[in-house]
Amino acid sequence: MGQLLEQVVNGLQLGFVYALIAVGYTMVYGIIKLINFAHGDVIMVGAFVTFFGLVRGIPWPVAILAAMVACAVLGVIIERLAYRPLREKGAPRIAALITAIGVSLFLENFASLHIAFGPDHRQFPEVIPHIQWKLAGVTVTSIQVLIIVSTLLLVAILQLVVYRTKIGKAMRAVSLDMDAARLMGINVNQVIAFTFAVGSALAAAAGALLAAAYPQIWPYMGIMPGLKAFTAAVLGGIGSIPGALLGAVLMGQAEVLTAAYLTTDFKDAVAFALLILVLLVRPAGLLGKAGPEKV
C-alpha cells in the first residue's frame, strides 16, 4: 500500500509538469484552433535559460522567473512572425499547423547549433536541496513538493486571470467567437499575443521543473513531454483548463503506474492506448463539450 501511494505521488509529480504544459496547449487551441507543436520546444528553451541562470549562481526563483519572461517574449515573437501572417491571409488551418511544425524544427535545430545551446546532453544543477520526508509511510521529496505547489499556484493564478480580469474576459470572448469579439472592440491580435505569452511562460516554468525532477537537458528534450501534454489536453477535452489538469494527472498516473506494475517497455503505448479508448467513448475528451453539428 505504501509503495502504491509512493508511485501515485511520483505520478502526480509527472502529471503536474504535464499539466503546466497542457494548459498552454489548451489555451492556444481554445483561441485559434491551432495545435502549437512548437510549444514543446519552448519547454526546452525555458529549461536552458534556467540552466544558464543557475550555473551563474542566480537564485532559483529568479532564474525560473527570467526563463518565464524570456519564453513569454519568445512565444509572442513566434506568434507575430509565423502565425499572424497566416491568420491575416485567412489561410487554412493546416497551413498554420505545418508552420508550427516548421517552428518546432527550427527551435530544435537552432538550439542544437554550437553557437546556441549545442547538441549535447547537460546535467542540470540541483535547484533546491534534496530533502526527503516520511509522511504516513510515504516518501515525499522536496522536488515533488516544489513541483506540486508551484503548479497549483500557477494554475490558480491563471484561473484568476482568465475569470477575474478584463484581458481574461477578452480571451474567453475571442475563444468563443473571434469575429464577434473583434466587432465588440476587442483587439484580437493583442489577446492572442497575450495568450501565447502566458502559455509560453507556463511552458518555461514546466521546463525548469521538469529539468529539476529529471536533471538532464538537451535540445530535443521537449518533444516527448510536449506530445504527452498535448495528448493530456485532448484527453481532458481541449480548450478547457480544468480538463487539461485532469487529463495531465491521469496521463501521469497511467505512465508511472504502468512502468511500476506492468512493464516499462510499453509505458508510452499504454498512455496513448488510453487516449484512443477515451476518444472512442467521448470524442471530445473527458470534460470537452461536443459542439452541435452544423452544415
Binding site: 495545435i35 493546416i94 518533444i223 498535448f230 517497455d265 487516449l275 470524442p283 452544423k294 452544415v295
Partner: protein
Amino acid sequence: MEPVEKKYTVTVPEKKFTVTIPRNAVISALVIVGLYVVLSLLRQQGVITPYWGLIMDLALITTISATGLSLIYGFAGQFSLGHAAFYGIGAYVAAFITKTYGATTVNFALGLAAGALAAAVIGFLVGLPILRLRSDYLGIATLGFGVIVKVLLDNSDKLSKTLGGSMGMLGIPRLTTFAWVFWLAVAVLLIARNLVNSSHGRVCITVREDEIAADIMGIDTTRYKMLAFTLGCGMAGLGGGLYAHLYTFLHPSSFEFLKSFDVLLIVVLGGLGSLTGTVVAGIGVVFLQEALRGVLGQQFLEWRGVVYALALIVLMILRPQGLMGGWEFSIDRLLQRRPKGGSARGAA
C-alpha cells in the same frame, strides 16, 4: 391447362466491337517509358552518380508513401498523423519475408505485396473505430497509434529475433532497384489518379468538403473514408517495403511520429487535393534536404535543419494553399492547348 410456351427469338444485330485506345494515353505511356529509359541510361552511364541515384530512389519511395496520405488527407480529408507507422509496418513485414525465405525476386515481390497488404489490413482494422473521430481528434488518435506502433517495433524482438527490436533489423537483402521503384511509383500514381477521377473518388472529395452534408445526401461516408484510408495505408506499406530493401537496415526510430510529420508536410506543401503537388513536393523535399548538404558544406552542416525549417515556414506563409493549390498536371490538357487543336482531342 397446358402451360403456354412462348418462344421469343431475339436477333442481335451484328456489331463489331472495336477497342479504341485514346491517343493521349499512348502519348502518356510513351512519355513515361521515355523518362524511364533516359533516367536509367543516365544512371548506367554514371551521369547520375550512385549517390544521387540513391536519393532519386528515396524520393520516389517517399512519393509513393506520400501519395497514400494524399488520398487519405488531400482527397478524403481525413487528418492522419500516423502515416509513418504504416510505412514501418510495410517495411518490417516485407523485410521479414525476404530475410526468412531467401532473397529471390519472387520473394521480394511477395514481400512487397505482403507488406502493402499488412499495412492496408491494419489500416482497415484501426480505421474502423478511429475514423469516426473528426479533424484534430482523428489526428491525435492516429498520432497515438503511431507512437504505439513505434513502441511495439522497439519490442519486436520478443516476437521474433529476426525483427531485431530496438537494436534494429540488420542484413536485409538489397533488392530494390530503380526499375522496381519507378514502375511501382507509376502504378501507384495511376491507381490514385484513376480513383480520384472515378465516382468513388468524387464521393471522397464530397466527404472532405462537407461530411455532414454528404451524410445527409445519403452517402455512406464511413465506407468512403475507409476506402481512402485503407488504400492510402497500403501505399505507405508498399513504400516501406521498398525502403527496407534499399537501405538494408531498419530501425524503429525511422518510423516514429516525427516521420509522419514529414509525409504530412509533403502533402500540404504540394497542395491538398493535387497529386501533381504531392509528387513535386515529395521529390522536392528529399532533394532539398540532400542539396542543402552539398551547398552548406561540411563546415555548416549543422545549419541544414535550421535552413530547412526556415524554408518550410517561409514557403507556408507565402503559399498557404501549397505549391500547386489544387492544380493537376495533365497531358490531355497540354495537347489540347495546341493551336492546331482539331485532331488533338484524340480518338476517344
